[in-house]
């Protein structure tokens, strides 16, 4: 489960087939939205309509009011939806196990286009000013124009579950693959700039901050690479596979481990600041606000930690 924080709410998708709307400050339940399948998709919130959009393994994409949990619209795909939506340009971009990436109007769910990647899409698309970038299970990653046309593709040797991260300043897209590599491509052309091999499949998504690229690998390490040179600045060994996606906030790097711990490292040097043990593996990402960081654990709990800087 990966939480999404929106103002005073935290939304938690769960494999119990529900999306939970909680009060951010107290964790108290505000609403619960049931679907007919497990939910691996992290909700995305549209600021103007206040709709939270997510997919379910019941093959549907749902938009619900983030304040009440009331459904605004649903759209059915031809496969389970485990991809997390991205809201941008007043549209929702989301993939499905039917192999398609859908672009739909965020207000009514009307489909603008569907792009067939040929294999299940499990990751969250990245959206730039003029492009949608998405990876799929066949190992291919696509650059798609906002009108739904293929601009480029690039093939890795393993399934892509890692969501691409686009550095908006440099126009470079970073993503991991099950072939053990982390990749950097020119987001405009798909030309491959560099790749770095770890010793395990990369499932989680990378994040770039101040020229350093952070990501976890199932080899048990969190890596910090110079994004321009691909040289390793530091790595931190958690010992067990990391499938979650790290986030960086105010000089700290946060991520969960399959060793049940939630970690806080110094983003600059990789030194451990603190770690907290839950009663289950942490496989999803975390969400951060100005004074709280929220994450979910496979112990069926959602945790909120005060930010200690």
């Amino acid at each position: 489960m990966s939480p999404t924080v929106y103002r005073e709410f935290v939304l938690v998708s769960s494999y119990d087939s529900n999306v939970w709307g909680l009060k951010l400050e107290t964790g108290e339940q505000v609403w619960k939205f049931p679907t007919n399948g497990g939910i691996a998709s992290t909700p995305a919130v549209d600021e103007s309509s206040k709709y939270a959009v997510f997919g379910s393994e019941d093959t549907n994409i749902y938009a619900v009011d983030v304040r009440t949990g009331r459904v605004a619209w649903t759209q059915q795909t031809k496969g389970r939806v485990r991809s997390s939506p991205r809201v941008a340009h007043d549209h929702v971009f989301v993939g499905s196990d039917d192999g398609k990436v859908y672009a739909m109007n965020v207000l009514n769910g009307r489909q603008l286009w569907a792009f067939d990647t040929g294999a299940p899409v499990r990751s969250r698309p990245a959206v730039t000013n003029d492009m949608v970038i998405v990876g799929c299970e066949s190992g291919e990653i696509f650059g798609i124009s906002l009108s739904g046309q293929r601009k480029w593709s690039f093939r890795t040797r393993g399934a892509i579950y890692s969501s691409p991260y686009v550095d908006p300043n440099e126009g470079v897209v970073y993503f991991g693959s099950s072939d053990h590599f982390i990749y950097a491509l020119d987001a405009n052309s798909g030309v491959s700039s560099w790749r770095v091999r770890t010793t395990g499949p990369i499932i989680g998504s990378p994040v770039e901050f101040k020229g350093l690229l952070y990501f976890g690998s199932t080899d048990g390490n969190i890596y910090a690479l110079n994004a321009q040179t691909s040289r390793e600045k530091w790595k931190y060994s958690a010992g067990t596979p990391i499938v979650s996606s790290p986030i960086v906030f105010k000089g700290a790097l946060y991520f969960g481990g399959t060793d049940n711990y939630f970690y806080c490292l110094d983003a600059d040097n990789g030194k451990e600041r603190w770690k907290f043990k839950t009663d289950g593996a942490i496989t999803g990402g975390a969400a951060v606000t100005n004074d709280l960081i929220v994450t979910g654990s496979l112990d069926h709990s959602v945790y909120a930690f005060p930010l200690v800087l």
């Binding site: 440099e170 020119d186 491959s192 700039s193 560099w194 790749r195 020229g211 110079n226 321009q228 040179t229």
Partner: protein, 339 residues
């Protein structure tokens, strides 16, 4: 210190002995007063230093990338290369005022096209500064530049032009590294007593990919900043990074020409690589140490900023290097980005 002894143990060889050495040729002992190296702006390792120029905007020298931290570019609009504006470039190489032969080699290649196939602009620029007596230096730099150019055009440019996407199976920086390693093998085999630096820049669209060994340099000049993108693989640079010497001491260091990394030294060498998106109206300068040892960064920035034509700017840079003594061969390639 053992590692340094090993890396830096090559003693300077007299000319024409044919001995392989990483020691680059030293200038004559009697240096004319007018050729005294100009004082560059003071540099803090890895930190930006700003130098006020009289009557001109300040420019910042960003030192080296040794800290591993990148510096984001200003939030410029991306270049629209679909129009009719393209990269312009100039190239000048000169033997200098002291040497009898030019051991530098330079390659410049730029291709642009307009068709429904929509191929991106492509450029490949190389500076190599040879070392070693008995013409070995010039042979080594020529082999290096020719070999790297040949490998990269055949492995990247030709397939890209033909629409064969297999060129993209190997990342560009990896292809550049492999090309340099191949060139290194050729030099070791064909010119065992020679060596060379090599700095290569590949442009695809507005992305720049760089690969570098030695102390030839690559600068990005944008607005009021001159940023050194490459890190010299020299003893003096290493000592600077380790805070063993100051920038002022580096200027007159007796071993300022000693390299710990160059093509032709060993079977295995490490290659630095870097990628950057080039901002509109920026300029990229490749040069051998014959330029930066003779002309300080402030002057380089001035010339590059003042001359609208890159070929004229290259000529002026070489003229200033020679006016400062011209102690070494000097090679400059300057690219000017549209926007």
């Amino acid at each position: 210190m053992d590692i340094f002894r090993r890396l830096f143990s090559n003693k300077p060889e007299p000319k024409n002995t044919g001995a392989a050495a990483a020691q680059k040729e030293q200038p004559p002992a009697s240096t004319p007063a007018s050729a005294a190296p100009p004082t560059p702006p003071s540099e803090n390792k890895g930190a930006k230093t700003t130098v006020e120029l009289e009557g001109r905007p300040a420019y910042a020298s960003t030192g080296t990338l040794a800290d591993g931290v990148t510096r984001p570019l200003p939030q410029d609009a991306l270049i629209d290369l679909k129009g009719n504006e393209h990269i312009a470039f100039g190239q000048v190489t000169d033997v200098g005022m002291v040497r009898s032969n030019n051991q530098d080699s330079a390659y410049s290649f730029f291709s642009t096209s307009r068709s429904v196939l929509e191929r991106p602009d492509f450029g490949l620029f190389i500076v190599a500064d040879g070392m070693g007596g008995h013409h070995d230096g010039e042979k080594a730099s020529a082999i290096a530049a020719r070999s790297v150019f040949g490998t990269l055009t055949s492995k990247v440019y030709v397939p890209m032009l033909a629409g064969d996407e297999r060129y993209n199976d190997v990342p560009i920086t990896e292809a550049m590294t492999e090309a340099i390693l191949k060139a290194n093998g050729e030099i070791v085999q064909k010119v065992p007593d020679g060596g060379t630096t090599l700095t290569a820049l590949m442009i695809i669209g507005d992305m720049a990919y760089m690969a570098h060994v030695g102390d030839s340099r690559l600068y990005l000049i944008h607005r009021d900043k001159l940023e050194q993108l490459t890190r010299d693989h020299s003893l003096v640079q290493r000592l600077l990074e380790l805070d063993q010497i100051t920038a002022d001491e580096a200027l007159d260091h007796p071993q300022k020409n000693v390299l710990y990394r160059a093509l032709g030294q060993n079977e295995q060498i490490e290659v630095d690589t870097l990628m950057r998106r080039l901002p509109p109206r920026s300029r990229v300068l490749l040069c051998s140490d014959g330029l930066w040892n003779q002309v300080d960064e402030r002057q380089i920035w001035e010339v590059v900023s003042q001359y609208p034509n890159p070929q004229d700017a290259c000529s002026e840079l070489v003229r200033r290097a020679n006016a400062s003594g011209g102690l070494d061969n000097v090679t400059v390639i300057l690219l000017q980005l549209p926007g």
